[in-house]
Symmetry: C2
Subunit: 215 residues, 2 copies
C-alpha cells in the first residue's frame, strides 16, 4: 500500500507538469454521496464559463448519470468509471487527460467518488481541493473524517437552507475544520436559493487566477 | 487484493461459526456518512431491547462520538477504530468479539464505516445487511453505488420526512434496488417522527428469530 501511495505521488507530479504546460488549473471536488458535488460544479460553471474555458472529469464507480447532466450544459466532460473502486488515482487522470483538447481548456473540475475516506488519500495532480459537507450529513463529520477536511483548501457547507431543520451547528464544523486545517476557507452555500455561491465563485476564481499566473 | 478478499471470506466464516456457538445474530448496518446509521440502530435497540440482549460494534475511522452515544443508553458497545481505513474487515470483528461477554448477548449490531463503496465488498460474518439511504442523498444512489444495495437484505430510506422537500423519487429507488436485488425488503422510515420504524423493527426481529432458530 505504501508503494502504491508513493507511485501515485510521482504520477500526480507528472499530471501537474502536463497541466502546467497548457496553463490549466485542476480542481478536485470531494464529498459524500449526495453532498451536492455535481450541482455545485454546475453552479460554479454557470458563473465562471464566461471567464474560463472549462472541462469536467466525472468520477463514478458505475454509470454516467452525472456526466450526462454536465454534457447537457455544453461542457466537455469525460466519464471516469472506476469500476467499483472507491477513489480516483493520479494514473487515471493522466490517462483521461488524453481525451480532452488541452489547448482549449483553462480549468478542469474533477468530481471525485462520493466518499469521505479514500479519495482524501490520493493526490490526482490537483491545484486545490474543494470539500463539500451537506447539512443533512450532520455537524460531526469533520471530527469523524478528519483527513478530507485537513487536506482541502476550501470547505463548503452545502444545503445550508436546511440548517434549522437539522439543528446543524455550523460553528462546530468551522471550529473543527480550522482545528485540523487553520488556513481552510469556509463557505455556507445553498444551490436551492443560491446563497453563498457568489462568495464561493469569487474565491475559486481568485485561486484559478493565482494558479494560472493571471492575477 | 484478490487474496485479501479470499482470506476475508475465510475469517468471515470463522466469525460466523463463533457466533453460532453462542447463538448470536450479527447485523451489518451500512450507509453514507450522515445517512442515520447510529440513530437507526438506537431506534431499533429501543424497540428490541426488551426481547433481546444487544451489543454494538461501532466502526469509525477516527474518534468515538457514536460509541459514546450508544454507551449512554446502557448498551455494551466496543469501538472499532480503523485508523483511517475505509471499511471493516472480518478479522477486526474476530478480534473485537473477545471484548464482549458473548454468553450475555443475542444480537450484535455493527455500524460500518460511513461509505457506500468499500464496506460492501467485505463480509464480516454478518447474518444480514441493512443498508440505509437518506433522502437528502438523492434518488440516484442505487444506480451509482449498486454493490451495496445488491448485497443488502433490507434497504431503509431514512429521513423520509424530507421526501417532498427534495423531490425524492422513492419509487425510482425501490425499482433500482429490486433491479439489482429482487428479494430486497424496502422500508421508508424517519427517526424524526417515528414513521416506518415499527415495520422495520418487526422485520429485523423476524430475521433475528430465523437466524437464532427461535421462530
Amino acid at each position: 500500500m505504501h508503494q502504491v501511495m508513493e507511485w501515485n505521488e510521482d504520477v500526480s507530479d507528472a499530471v501537474k507538469a502536463e497541466l502546467a504546460e497548457h496553463n490549466i488549473c485542476l480542481i478536485n471536488v470531494l464529498g459524500s454521496p449526495g453532498a451536492g458535488k455535481t450541482s455545485t460544479i454546475l453552479s460554479l460553471i454557470e458563473r465562471l464559463r464566461s471567464k474560463y474555458r472549462i472541462g469536467v472529469i466525472e468520477g463514478d464507480i458505475a454509470g454516467q448519470i452525472d456526466a450526462d447532466t454536465i454534457h447537457a450544459q455544453g461542457i466537455p466532460v469525460v466519464q471516469l468509471d472506476t469500476d467499483g473502486a472507491c477513489h480516483i488515482e493520479a494514473m487515471s487522470i493522466q490517462h483521461i487527460l488524453k481525451e480532452f483538447d488541452l489547448t482549449a481548456l483553462d480549468v478542469i473540475f474533477v468530481e471525485n467518488i462520493g466518499n469521505l475516506v479514500c479519495p482524501a488519500e490520493f493526490n490526482i495532480g490537483e491545484h486545490f481541493r474543494l470539500a463539500l459537507l451537506s447539512i443533512p450529513e450532520g455537524d460531526d463529520k469533520v471530527e469523524k473524517y478528519p483527513l478530507m477536511f485537513a487536506t482541502s483548501q476550501a470547505l463548503a457547507m452545502n444545503k445550508y437552507d436546511l440548517k434549522e431543520y437539522f439543528g446543524f451547528d455550523d460553528e462546530r464544523v468551522e471550529r473543527s475544520a480550522r482545528g485540523v486545517n487553520p488556513d481552510v476557507q469556509v463557505f455556507r452555500v445553498s444551490s436551492r436559493d443560491g446563497m453563498g455561491l457568489e462568495e464561493l465563485t469569487s474565491w475559486v476564481s481568485h485561486r484559478i487566477d493565482e494558479v494560472r499566473g493571471t492575477t
